[in-house]
Point group: C2
Chain length 195, copies 2
């Protein structure tokens, strides 16, 4: 799980990310990854016991590469609840496109693979904690809308920010990334801030 990561492992993970990034999603087979990494298909199994495990390892690799923590720092540092909300929505909204290939692979695998489903659920759970923190900050400022509990408000924000929604607006409906962030930000304000 957390052994120092050999030369070859890194190559496999990098190849995986490369393939996922270029739209692949489901169509990234173990053999594709092996080929991209320049090794045999079987050799991949010497390092990762299953496709699900490889994908999970690849997300960790991606997180380290993208430095998730640094991105969330501004949100955590925000003075007011409103600022915190805005920073969080902005950060996550711009993070989604970078992890979309990964997300797609997980979402496609999840219905058939319990381990993948579990891993994805966990990540979404983590994301929801950010939502909760923002909502709590709003509540502390007495800025949270009436008519929603803190839990409900967190769920609503979490849903609004889901990768699927991003996919719908960006990919299906052709929104630009800028417009997506603008509208989602404004929506979050309308839904969560007391008028």
């Amino acid at each position: 799980m957390s052994s120092p990561e050999s030369q070859t492992e890194t190559r496999i993970l990098e190849a995986t990310l490369r393939l996922l990034e270029s739209g692949g999603g489901e169509a990234v087979r173990m053999s594709d990854i092996a080929k991209a990494a320049g090794i045999s298909r079987q050799a991949v199994y010497l390092h990762f016991p299953s496709r699900a495990a490889l994908l999970i390892a690849a997300t960790h690799h991606l997180d380290r590469k993208k430095d998730v923590e640094a991105r969330l720092a501004p949100s955590r540092a925000a003075a007011s609840g409103l600022e915190r909300l805005e920073a969080y929505v902005g950060a996550w909204g711009t993070y989604i496109p970078e992890i979309y290939g990964m997300a797609k692979a997980f979402l496609a695998l999840a219905p058939r693979d319990a381990a993948a489903a579990e891993a994805w659920t966990q990540r979404m759970e983590d994301m929801r904690e950010g939502c909760e923190a923002a909502v709590r900050a709003l509540a502390r400022d007495d800025q949270l809308v009436e008519g929603l509990t803190e839990a409900e408000a967190s769920d609503l924000l979490w849903t609004l920010l889901s990768v699927r929604n991003w996919e719908l607006l960006r990919k299906e409906r052709g929104w630009t990334q800028e417009r997506y962030v603008e509208v989602v930000l404004e929506s979050a304000r309308l839904l969560l801030i007391r008028p």
Copy 2:
């Protein structure tokens, strides 16, 4: 596609719906359906050329059974834009749970089957037309929020009402169906109605 539907075909379709309804989703194999319909696996292929085609036929069967048109009538008949929006959100919001099994199967199949993806996209396209109509009615009443084009407002409503969002709130976060409808309705008002 639209031949009169034999005895056996009906039995297959009914069996399919029965299995999908009981949570199955992905785990509904051709052999399961055959067994449930009381025929051999191969016989299913005598009536439907592929799993995707069978699922598509099953949605049509479901639509007829659930009488989609009747459900949408109140929305179409609404006098004001606001009423139309409310009727539409209410109707669709209560329809989702009834088609959820079906939707799950499509969503799981779509990444690997172009025909299934196409069929699902088409259905979502139809649903979006309802959103567009509601938004147009709002605009006609001069009630549409500023800052969104009609197309954007339709997309936003369409996204808000997505099956995935329903799934997130109801299945992942444990919301009740009533609360889901209430909150989504109120959200639609907040996002789309000029204050």
